[in-house]
Structure formats: structure tokens, C-alpha cells
């Protein structure tokens, strides 16, 4: 009896489970299987964070820049192969003519550059780019109603642009702004000549502003047609155009059929030919037909997809480090067997434990700040949290930047000396006028990694008898508090966006206090004087010396305990060609090529490896 009932019930379960599986089939009414052509060259990438928008005039996060830079092109770009990094024309015909007083730049733009085809143009055909489009892009950023995060780049730089911004304040809506109003500092004598007049010399105009997608030409027709939805409808001049963007999921770019073509560099630095970086010299780009970015926030699936050959390149997740890298920082044989290659390169980043210099306890107590700096064992920190891959930061300027002081280590600003820390603390108590209160460190995350990270600092500081409280918070809360100067100590980092230390040193200029770049709210008349001097200086040995001097001023005052400069370890499959690391370029998909034969062989190789 029992068996009979059991059998009946199990049959029922089986039938119902079958029905359940059947329900999965009609759900599959989404996309049909790949419409990828058999010989289509597809670059498969992953993004660790979602894309927020594709409007070149706004949004400055790395993810947005990575995608936008394949679609939009500014006037200049960094040479893909040459080091030290060198600026070369992109949409500009040549390097600019600069007046003797360094205030007027005359730039000729290339003819025959077209906007990508889009329904906002008559007949759907993209029109030719003119200098007026560059001016429109800059005016758009200046329009206060547009609320661009890029305005700080141009604030008080170009003659008449600030007046234009003032005028936009008087407009009711962003659509009411009259973009035909002339600006003295942005002139277009003809359709292919752009004249920019500056208020004072601006050495970063080319290396930063005009090589950034923020200044890429945008057609007014596109802005008028899409309005606020322009974030989803990028129309640029670049080698790729947007085919599909499924938010929080994937982005597909396809080759732009109206792209004018651009030759792969014909020369590089010594060793490039041997490394195969010149195999495609002078061939027309882009090589790939399609670029797919899948948004994968978790390490595990990203790593599995890379090992399955479904991603061309990947960083090494912290938890998989020992599976990939040997004790001598080389690839393990299992990885080599899979024909995976390792690339390591210096990242222009600096991580630190920052001090709010306006905090009543820390700001007026230099011995206390020095004691905290001496109490942190940076090597241990790098070993624990970065698998020993980074280098100790002795200052703000990373080794990749030309003005890096090679002997900075000997100055001992980042030395680990708990005994000295303890004696400094005694001095700090005298300055404070009694026992030091509990200090608070803000940690920008709440997950296990950040908790371990916080515990490390707590343990290090408690070892020298300093009471510390950890304040874990989510990213937005952290940034809000940082911008409103309400944190006491904060774990943070910064990266150079151009090969110029000015980008990092501005973090200490007193006019850029939070919410500006100076999160430390640091102020030094000597530093400010030097900063104002270098702000109008072009690259020279004198400027580099001043950069080093400024860094020493900062290190003496100790507004932060500098921790580490990142060294990136990236893996890629052997089919992924022209993968030369570049610290300052985002629009690099055009250089990449896939060896289709090798990619096809990987499946067989996987079976062998298994």
C-alpha cells in the first residue's frame, strides 16, 4: 500500500517536474541564437562595473570612458606604442600652432571625417565633422543647465567660456540656451580651423583636455533629437558604433562602416617588433568587426569565462592568485599549457590613508600624523591585500611618471618604525594637551575585504597604543562625507589620467578643497605658490624639479600616509594580439586583433588540459 502511494506520488512529482522544465522552453522567447557570422572577429571583454551613460560631455568614470572612447574621438590621442607617452593627432590634422605667449592655439582638423550614420541626420547619413562641432561640445559642457561633471576641466581657462556659462544661468531650461552666441576664445575662421584663446597658459590643454572624449565633437542634431536620452544614443566619429546596450548586462559595438580608417602605428619603442606589436604596422584599423563587453561584477564567473576562452583577457582575482602565479611572480605551468600570457605593468596610481587637515585633532598635530605613518607596515599591507604585487608608495607620484624621484625611498617618509611612532605619539599628546582621543578611519566598503582592510589599520595603530575606531560605509556615503569634509581619516587612492604629476599634485592645492580634488583639505602657502608657478609651465627639467619639490613639501607636512602604487597583472589568451598595456588610453579596441585560428584551437586544447 505504502509503496503504491509512494510510487504514485513520485510519479506526480516527476510529471510536475517535467512540466516545470517545459515551462522553461517558452520562456526562451528572447534572443535567437547568435547572429554572429562564422568568420566575424569579435573581441570579448568584461566590465566589473556597470555603464552609466554614453554622453561624451558628461560622466567621467573609467567604465564610461572605456566604451565612449571607442565611439568618440577627440583631437589628439596618446601614441599606442611609444614610451614615454607621446601625444599624436587624431582628429586634428597636425599638432597645433601655438602663439609665442602660449595663449592661442590654432588647430587644423582632418577633412573627410563623418559622424556615424543615425536617424537624426537627414536621410540617416552622418554628415562631415566641422570645427563648429568641437565648439558646440565645449559650449555644451559650459551650459550650467546641462550639469556636466566635466566643467571643472574648463573652469576659468578659455576666454569668454565662463561668460557663456554665466549667460546660461539666465536661461529657464537647457533647451533655451542659444549655442550660436560667439565666444572670443573659441573661434572657427573656417570649417576646418579651430582657434582657442586661453586666459593664461594651460600646459594640460593638449595632454588632458583635447585628448579627452569630453572634447570630442558632438553634432547638435543628435543633442536636439535625443534630448536627455542622448546617454543611450552615442553618435561619434570613431571606429566603432553602438549596436546594442542592454543596461546592467552587455554592450555591443560594431565596426563603423563610415569610419575613415586609421593606420596601425608603424613604429614603437625598442622591443616592440620582437614582442609582435609591429606585426600589423601600417595596416588599416580597426581589425575587429565587433566588440562585446559583458558586465560581470563577481570574480568567479569572470574567471571561469576567461578559462573557458569566452573572454580574451582578465585580471587575476585575489582568491585565484596562487592558482595562477608562482612564488617568483611567473605564470604557473598549467596556465602556460593553456597558452595564457601574463602582462605586468605599473599603474599610475597611489593609495593612501588620508588625514583631514581641517580636523581639530589631526590637522594641528603633525607628530600624530607622522606617528600614524610610521606605524603602518606597508610591505605587510601589500603582502596581505595585493599578493605582494605592488610597490611601496613613498610619495604621491608613482614611478611611471617622469617626475618620480628615484631616491625617494632613502628619504624614509614611508618607513615602518613602531618605536619612533611611539615616541612621536608622546610628542603628539603634548601638542594635543592630554590623552589623544579615539581616532576614526572611514573605510569605503562593508564586505569582507574591506573589513579585513580596516582591521589591518586598526591592529597596526593599536600596536603603538593609538585607539582607533573603524567606520565602514558604502561607497556613496563615503564620497558624500569626503566631499563635505566630515571624515577624520580615510582609506583612498588616486590615479593619474595623464603622464603629468600636476594631475596628482593638484590634490594638495588649497583652492581645490573638497568637494574638489583636495580631499585632505590641505593648505600650504609654499605649496600653493609652487603650484601656481607650475600651472602655467610646460614640460621641462625645471618643471619636473618643481614637482619633486612640491611633493617634498607635502611629505614634510604628512597629510596622508602613502601606502602603495599598483602593479597590474593581466592575463590574456595567445589569440589576443596587440595587447600592449597603456596607462592613459581608453580607445584601444581598434588596435586589438584576434588570431581566429588560435581561438578555434582553444576548445581542443581545453579538452587536452582537462
Amino acid at each position: 500500500m505504502t509503496t503504491h502511494i509512494l510510487r504514485q506520488c513520485l510519479c506526480t512529482v516527476a510529471v510536475l517536474f517535467g512540466l516545470l522544465l517545459f515551462t522553461l522552453v517558452p520562456i526562451g522567447c528572447g534572443r535567437s541564437p547568435s547572429d554572429e557570422k562564422p568568420q566575424e572577429m569579435v573581441l570579448n571583454h568584461a566590465l566589473a562595473t556597470r555603464l552609466t551613460g554614453l554622453d561624451p560631455g558628461d560622466q567621467r568614470n573609467v567604465t564610461a570612458l572605456t566604451i565612449k572612447s571607442q565611439i568618440f574621438e577627440p583631437l589628439y590621442q596618446y601614441h599606442f606604442l611609444k614610451r614615454p607617452y607621446q601625444l599624436v593627432p587624431l582628429l586634428a590634422e597636425d599638432m597645433p600652432e601655438i602663439s609665442d605667449d602660449n595663449l592661442t592655439y590654432t588647430i587644423k582638423i582632418k577633412k573627410g571625417v563623418y559622424f556615424q550614420d543615425n536617424k537624426c541626420f537627414p536621410g540617416g547619413k552622418g554628415r562631415q565633422v566641422k570645427t563648429q562641432d568641437f565648439v558646440f561640445s565645449l559650449k555644451r559642457i559650459a551650459n550650467i543647465k546641462y550639469l556636466s561633471q566635466n566643467w571643472s576641466i574648463f573652469d576659468d581657462k578659455i576666454v569668454g567660456l565662463d561668460d557663456f556659462r554665466e549667460y546660461t544661468k539666465t536661461c529657464e531650461r537647457r533647451e533655451d540656451v542659444d549655442y550660436s552666441r560667439p565666444i572670443e576664445g573659441l573661434q572657427t575662421p573656417d570649417d576646418y580651423t579651430l582657434v582657442i584663446k586661453l586666459k593664461r597658459p594651460w600646459p594640460q590643454l593638449l595632454t588632458y583636455a583635447l585628448s579627452d572624449t569630453a572634447t570630442a565633437p558632438v553634432a547638435k542634431e543628435v543633442v536636439d533629437f535625443y534630448g536627455k536620452d542622448i546617454i543611450s544614443h552615442p553618435v561619434g566619429t570613431g571606429p566603432f558604433k553602438l549596436k546594442e546596450w542592454r543596461r546592467r548586462s552587455y554592450i555591443v559595438l560594431v565596426r563603423n562602416p563610415t569610419f575613415r580608417g586609421e593606420p596601425y602605428p608603424g613604429e614603437g619603442e625598442p622591443g616592440d617588433a620582437e614582442a609582435g606589436y609591429l606585426d600589423d604596422a601600417r595596416k588599416m584599423m580597426p581589425f575587429a568587426d565587433k566588440v562585446v563587453w559583458t558586465i560581470i561584477e563577481e570574480d568567479q564567473p569572470r574567471w571561469f569565462l576567461f578559462l573557458q576562452g569566452k573572454l580574451d583577457a582578465s585580471a587575476i582575482p585575489k582568491d585565484n592568485w596562487s592558482e595562477v602565479i608562482t612564488g617568483s611572480s611567473d605564470l604557473k605551468p598549467e596556465m602556460k599549457q593553456r597558452r595564457i600570457h601574463l602582462k605586468t605593468f605599473l599603474d599610475p596610481t597611489t593609495f593612501f590613508l588620508g588625514f583631514n587637515m581641517q580636523d581639530p585633532v589631526l590637522g594641528n598635530n603633525k607628530p600624530l600624523r607622522l606617528a600614524i605613518s610610521r606605524a603602518i607596515d606597508r610591505k605587510k599591507f601589500i603582502e596581505l591585500f595585493r599578493n605582494n604585487r605592488d610597490v611601496v608608495a613613498h610619495g604621491i607620484i608613482p614611478p611611471l611618471i617622469a617626475s618620480y624621484e628615484p631616491n625617494i625611498k632613502e628619504k624614509g617618509y614611508a618607513r615602518y618604525d613602531p618605536k619612533e611612532a611611539q615616541s612621536l605619539l608622546k610628542e603628539a599628546e603634548k601638542v594635543h594637551g592630554g590623552k589623544l582621543p579615539t581616532l576614526k578611519i572611514a573605510i569605503p566598503g562593508t564586505d569582507t575585504f574591506f573589513r579585513q582592510f580596516g582591521q589591518f589599520f586598526k591592529r597596526q595603530l593599536e600596536a603603538v597604543n593609538l585607539d582607533v575606531e573603524l567606520d565602514y560605509m558604502d561607497g556613496p556615503t563615503y564620497w558624500e562625507k569626503l566631499h563635505t569634509r566630515s571624515l577624520q581619516m580615510f582609506a583612498s587612492g588616486t590615479g593619474a589620467t595623464l603622464p603629468d604629476a600636476q594631475d596628482l599634485l593638484q590634490s594638495f592645492y588649497s583652492k581645490y578643497w573638497a568637494p574638489g580634488a583636495n580631499s585632505f583639505n590641505y593648505s600650504s602657502p609654499e605649496f600653493d605658490r609652487l603650484y601656481e608657478k607650475i600651472a602655467v609651465m610646460f614640460d621641462s627639467s625645471e618643471r619636473r624639479e618643481l614637482y619633486r619639490k612640491m611633493e617634498l613639501v607635502v611629505l614634510e607636512d604628512c597629510p596622508a600616509a602613502f601606502l602603495n602604487h599598483r602593479v597590474a597583472y593581466v592575463l590574456h589568451h595567445d589569440w589576443y594580439k596587440n595587447y600592449k598595456p597603456h596607462a592613459f588610453a581608453y580607445g584601444v579596441s581598434k588596435y586589438r586583433r584576434i588570431d581566429m585560428k588560435k581561438r578555434a584551437e582553444y576548445k581542443k586544447l581545453l579538452k587536452k588540459v582537462k
Partner: protein
């Protein structure tokens, strides 16, 4: 019946108003001024003021016809939630996320329900035997294993190691292909607690007098179990099932994130992470409205399955 339904629907009006008031207080008073946050790094005071103007943050909170609360009220009633922090319409975000979430949650929900109700009937019938003990041990074990472990284990073995399913969402996969493994993982992870619950419900019924009477009258076991026990166990089942339906729209936070399913669970977790109040506010409001509606449906269902419950 109609009067009852109308009355219940009328009750929902103050509840929805309460939800609106609560969400407004949470997202406006407790949250504080978000204009600095929206302005980002290097923003000037004038940009912050413009943001206040654009988002209506410079309006009075309550005491005006043109207040922030009235805007909040109007927007919610018209389901116009404005634009998210990335300037995309919140409505579009939600619309796009509903289908993937339902594709994941509906089969998972019915899978767990069908399997656990059926097995609970069997287990209730063989109560006290080694099969029952075995089932309880398995259920407790299933409940004790963290949800994340099911995901990591399933993804590693079924997708990566054995290649039976895709590891992650990919544009060239059909929806059934990329939800299959998450659905199975969700079913496996949800079975323990559900089976335990339904087993308890069934056991309560199996011990009732009417079951003994039915057997004494010579009814078949099948008839007793499926016609009488299951029907009488319907009230707790309906309570659990109908009230779980609104949550199907919210998707599964972890499964969607690990398998790249662009559903509402993923949207919500991301909105919380990036403090996108516009999205969080919309999702909270929609969930609350769905919850209220399904509560009414639950009450109506009680009367349909149990004649002892009178709606009058």
C-alpha cells in the same frame, strides 16, 4: 462578495497613502539633501543649486501645493518615477527588468511549490519511518547551507567543470538557456525550508479526525490525500503562496548578480549600492502596492477554498 472586495480595495487607499508618506519620509527627510552627492567631485556651489532646481529639491517639503511631497504623491500615483541617477527613465529600467526576473522566479517558484507540496504529502504519509527521518535531515541540511554556497557550487560544477549550462549570461543565449541553471539552483536551495513547512502543515492535517473517518469509510489513500488532506491544507498554503507572488517581481538578488541576469533584483541591489534613491523609491512603492493587492487576493482565496470562511 462584491461588497467585500470593494471594501477591501477601499482599505488599500489609506495603506497606499501611508506607504507614500513613509517612503517620502525615508527618502527625503532621513536621506537628507542629495544635491551634493549628485553633483559629484569638483562641483561648484552654483552647480549644486542647479541640481536642486532640476530635481525640485529647493521646494518646501510639505506645506505647499507645490511641495516635494505633492510631487512625490503625484509621481507615484501616475507611476512616473522620473529619471534615475544615470538619467535613464526609472520606468524604462523597471519595465526592462520585469521579464528576466519573472523568467527566473516563476519557474523557480512553481518548481519549489510543486515539488515541496507533493513530497510533503508523501512524507506526511510515511511519517515516523526512516524515509521521514531521512527527509527531515536533508531538509535541515538544505536549510543550513548558505544560499551563496549553492550558487558557487552549482556554477563551478554544472557550468564550469561539466559544461552542462552556460557560466554566465551572454547576448547570444536564449532566455531559457541562461536561466536554466539559476532556476535549478534556486529550486535546490529553496526546497529545504519549503518542504519542512509543508510537511508540518500536512502532518497537522493527517492527524485530524476527518482523515481517520475517511479511511474508516474505506476511501482510497489517494482520495484521502489529494481530495481531503490537500484541500484542507490549502489555507496555510495559499497564505504562503499568494503573499510570495509580489516578491517574484523583485527577482533574486544573488542569482541575478552571479549569473548576470538583468532583472529587478540586480537593479535593486545596484540601486542600493549606488544610492539611487529614485530607483529604490520606485521599487519600494511598487512592491508595497503589489503586496497590498495580493493581500486582498489572499483573503478572497480563503473564501474560495474554505467554505467556513465567510467574506460577509
Amino acid at each position: 462578495m462584491t461588497t467585500y472586495i470593494i471594501r477591501r480595495l477601499l482599505y488599500t487607499i489609506p495603506i497606499v497613502f501611508g506607504v507614500l508618506l513613509l517612503t517620502f519620509c525615508l527618502f527625503t527627510l532621513v536621506r537628507g539633501d542629495i544635491s551634493v552627492e549628485l553633483a559629484g567631485k569638483n562641483a561648484t556651489q552654483e552647480t549644486i543649486e542647479e541640481i536642486k532646481q532640476e530635481y525640485g529639491l529647493n521646494k518646501p517639503l510639505f506645506l505647499s501645493w507645490d511641495s516635494q511631497f505633492i510631487d512625490h504623491f503625484k509621481n507615484a500615483l501616475t507611476f512616473d518615477f522620473g529619471r534615475a541617477r544615470d538619467r535613464e527613465l526609472v520606468r524604462d529600467k523597471i519595465k526592462r527588468g520585469v521579464l528576466p526576473s519573472l523568467a527566473l522566479m516563476v519557474p523557480m517558484f512553481f518548481g519549489v511549490l510543486i515539488i515541496s507540496v507533493s513530497l510533503s504529502l508523501v512524507i506526511a504519509f510515511v511519517r515516523g519511518t526512516k524515509w521521514d527521518t531521512f527527509a527531515v535531515v536533508v531538509c535541515v541540511a538544505g536549510m543550513s547551507i548558505p544560499y551563496l554556497s549553492f550558487i558557487l557550487f552549482g556554477q563551478y560544477f554544472f557550468a564550469y567543470k561539466w559544461g552542462l549550462f552556460p557560466v554566465f549570461f551572454s547576448p547570444d543565449l536564449t532566455r531559457s538557456e541562461y536561466v536554466a541553471l539559476p532556476v535549478l539552483i534556486g529550486i535546490a536551495a529553496g526546497l529545504g525550508s519549503n518542504l519542512r513547512f509543508y510537511r508540518t502543515v500536512m502532518l497537522d492535517e493527517m492527524r485530524s479526525d476527518y482523515v481517520r473517518t475517511a479511511f474508516a469509510k474505506g476511501l482510497t489513500t489517494r482520495c484521502v490525500l489529494f481530495k481531503h488532506v490537500l484541500k484542507n491544507a490549502m489555507v496555510p498554503i495559499i497564505t504562503r503562496v499568494v503573499l510570495a507572488i509580489p516578491f517574484l517581481f523583485l527577482g533574486s538578488l544573488l542569482l541575478e548578480r552571479f549569473f548576470g541576469i538583468p532583472g529587478l533584483g540586480y537593479l535593486m541591489i545596484e540601486a542600493i549600492g549606488s544610492r539611487d534613491y529614485f530607483v529604490i523609491n520606485a521599487m519600494t512603492y511598487i512592491s508595497a502596492v503589489l503586496f497590498v493587492v495580493f493581500n486582498v487576493i489572499t483573503d478572497i482565496c480563503y473564501a474560495l477554498v474554505d467554505p467556513r470562511v465567510s467574506l460577509e
